[in-house]
Symmetry: C2
DNA sequence: CGAAGTATTGAACATAGTCAATAACAGTGG
DNA sequence: CCACTGTTATTGACTATGTTCAATACTTCG
């Protein structure tokens, strides 16, 4: 007898359950949410500024990001998404999308219709809370990044982003020991930290030289978690992870 | 016969109504929300990192801000609040506060108990949406600030912040003609834009010299809205104001 | 009026950016 | 399996924007 595949909403439910106790009926309803999956290549726009989507996107596999461009074409990446994240949950209540969302690696996406979520919330009003919660954590991460980009020097900035990724990936089981896969180019890291690729490269070298990270392909190995956290002034409070 | 004073929730309701149609019963319930008012001096912390409040704060008069500090004591201001804003609405669902909120000018605050809001939402589930909406707009503003601080040069950054304030203040009726009161020191503007006070001072001078703003005390006069918007690369989409 | 906070100025300096060239790597098809 | 191609990473030299430090003027308010 074949084992049933987990539902597409598996990671989403897992995340919700780390903060909320779901009744078995609520959980079942979430498991049965209609999800339409799509595969996309790296570097593809998933949602664009000005769109008025009727569905939300759930990242099932891969990495994506939110970004905006200045008129001169400078790009700021404002958040990185990992499996289980819902990058455009805001579109449920903000009619016009004011950001761009793009894949950073090959991604598997699950699209959930707004009307299905609205229905879900009508039938189970208690479920509104964890979804609202998710958007509040997103906002918290934006704030921390603002502190990062506005006040920390390059060395700390990069260390901070790596710390955040480690903890978030750990929460969805994507960390093996002290290492994880980070399919992000230095140019993209530069856009995420408000630096130039050249400077990112130099900072990464000094992080390596100081023994805070090892890199192999796009695998990041963290030999000394304590030291990396200190370098990035990292305090995980803002991630609001319950099971630290 | 004396005219009844508007309820403390007046500005909040006004903001909600710019996006949602309230039934008269919903409106009445909102007007009757218990609000405890407090006056605070400039530069006072209202909420601190680590707090676990049982109430939300509604700004009735004055300006406040959200900020965080780095270990070396550098401060990043992440948002400015104007009357009608609810700076810590997030505390409804995030147990531990991960930011500091401080008054920038003398402020009148209204505190609303979480339990009263939860009751409100139980009785009128439809009202969850506008409050969720408010936190989504906050997040949108954080993102825009991240773009501002990460990718724009000083001149545009300051122009952008002024543009944002003008539109938001206009929405609550605090703009007279093309000018408004901005009780924020240059040092605070520096913390909001990730610059030094010295540099802010120089940028303000060049904005004045180019005729984009006039300043008088802490009154800002905007003689050429078009030019200021261009200088700040300002596009109001991210504010999600309905009545533009 | 006097004190404290705020704004302004100048000069030296530094972090990070720009430009440009080269090296390493990953994916492709013969 | 290897040459070919485009992308990504690395390096160096020069430059800029914005910082730091420190001194001076201006406001505001009791």
């Amino acid at each position: 007898m074949p084992t049933a595949l987990p539902p597409h909403t598996y990671l989403m439910i897992r995340k919700i359950e780390s903060n909320y106790t779901l009744t078995s009926e609520e959980k079942l309803t979430l498991q049965k949410l209609p999800v339409q999956t799509v595969d996309v290549k790296p570097g593809q726009d998933i949602v664009k500024m000005g769109d008025q989507p009727t569905q939300c996107c759930l990242l099932l596999e891969g990495f994506s990001c939110v970004y905006k461009l200045t008129l001169e074409g400078k790009r700021q990446i404002m958040a990185l998404h990992i499996p289980g994240d819902m990058p455009d949950l805001q579109s449920l209540h903000l009619q016009v999308i004011d950001i761009n969302i793009a894949s950073l690696s090959p991604c598997k996406l699950g699209f959930i219709q707004h009307r299905d979520l609205h229905l879900l919330f009508e039938q189970h009003p208690r479920l509104i809370t964890p979804f609202w919660h998710e958007t509040l954590v997103d906002a918290s991460i934006f704030r921390e990044w603002l502190l990062n980009v506005g006040q920390r020097e390059g060395y700390s900035r990069i260390a901070h982003v790596i710390c955040e990724l480690l903890l978030r990936l750990k929460a969805v089981g994507l960390v093996e020991g002290n290492s994880f896969h980070m399919p992000i180019s230095q140019a993209e890291l530069a856009d995420a930290t408000g630096m130039t690729p050249v400077h990112v490269n130099r900072v990464l070298q000094s992080l390596r030289n100081n023994g805070l990270i090892h890199t192999n392909r796009r695998q990041i190995i963290i030999p000394d978690w304590q030291k990396l956290q200190e370098a990035g002034e990292f305090d995980s409070l803002y991630l609001h992870l319950k099971n630290d």
